[in-house]
Symmetry: C2
Subunit: 290 residues, 2 copies
Amino acid sequence: MMRIAFQGEIGAYSEEALAALYPGAEKVPFPSFEAAFDAVVRSDVDRAVLPIENSLFGSVHQNYDLLLEHDLKILAEVQLRIRHQLLAVAGASLGDIRTVTSHPQAIGQCRSFLKKHLPDAHIVPAYDTAGAAKMIAEAGDVSSAAIASRAAASEYHLQTLAEDIESNHANYTRFLALGRPDANANEGLAQSSLPASSHDPTFKTSLLYAQKENVPGGLFKSLAVFALRDIDLFKIESRPLVGSPGQYVFYLDLKGHLDEEPIRHALRHLEEVAANVKVLGSFLQGQTVE
Amino acid sequence: MMRIAFQGEIGAYSEEALAALYPGAEKVPFPSFEAAFDAVVRSDVDRAVLPIENSLFGSVHQNYDLLLEHDLKILAEVQLRIRHQLLAVAGASLGDIRTVTSHPQAIGQCRSFLKKHLPDAHIVPAYDTAGAAKMIAEAGDVSSAAIASRAAASEYHLQTLAEDIESNHANYTRFLALGRPDANANEGLAQSSLPASSHDPTFKTSLLYAQKENVPGGLFKSLAVFALRDIDLFKIESRPLVGSPGQYVFYLDLKGHLDEEPIRHALRHLEEVAANVKVLGSFLQGQTVE
């Protein structure tokens, strides 16, 4: 059985992403992204499933930094809709609730619901949504509710008092599955994440690079590398290098696989106009889990 | 006296940014970014100072969305280093501390310090850093500390037990000053944020646009508009439009002012190859407050 790292507690949203990519695998929680990366490098686990970008909050720069520092490759991706549930112990009803606990970000995303349905509830911040769910399950008090995932409801045997209470339903997080460079990308992956032999799968290749000094219009030239070969881009993001004014690092996701000749030519061309090109992997465009 | 909106409590990092841009102005706290935008639109306040991007956590997409929905313009920017302080009431010392409270993100950023100096402290999450500081000031207990800003220390008359305890010192947040379209951009602005007559100031122009359907290589063409006119870019970021697979919105910061002829030509050219171009304003490149 494969062992897969994720960040957070059992019942965290990351665990839902992990289950979508690697059904049946052993889920191994870690307190930080860095600890999850290190566990893969040390072969304590086979893979890590970590967030890389959220539709409301943007790229998880910390994980891009860790990808730059560690020699891991991207094997797969999945996009998960973040649905917040109002959870309580069996026997509770919405009218009973006097206290609501969750991570401040989750509470913020459910402010309209709370204002309308629980205007007088006492709001107690927590470290993470799953921890909040665990806490109310252990306390067993019918007047307390937590805002957390469906996975937390199932893990801690809580009932759902209200479903999908987030104000903005367009809240999606993209997660990556990371492995060591010699990993077999398809091993253990969910059937839905594998290419169907019957049609043409879409591959993504993800890379990082920096501006080369003394190359005027460097960003434009680096994109020309792909445009000249009709290679489509899924993502482009610049990030200022702190401490180096005017210097940037770029995140790029392009359409195609490293094995394809135009992509190989484009990457060779990119080396001419950009610095520190690091290819993070080629993988199948992921499913969206609603 | 000008009245300036910010999000959070008195003592929040946003208040430090506000003070750097508008010294002497009245600071008006709001519970959400949206409430701060609305207050400017309704003329309840003169300006809002809000975060737009952090060096570790990326763009604040919610404020880009609000800029798209509201008819406000960017008047100025400032980049603030986020320095976390360990604060306690007078008479406390590091050896006394049994409980540390702060926002989970701030606690996470100070994990190494806490592990080394306060390994046995009980960690209590809070909504925001300034609220945590206020709470320990009110409680007056020498065994409790909060992680918060220097502004919070001064506001709540707390002593600093340890300075700059964040693990990653490269933590900067860029804030924008927003006003109504008819605002006088220089009014009330700190002297350091105004152009020195003696040298050539650097202007930034910030804009949003979407891909035009049926324009192949639309992103590349939209950047060519600037490259062909030797206009430098400070920032480029693509963000997938949720619900419209393959459609993106772009955030762009370029070097130059809307009044300059090449910029005006470039924007006219951009309208040909991109959709929904929205110029957010031209403003002086901001100072960094260390």
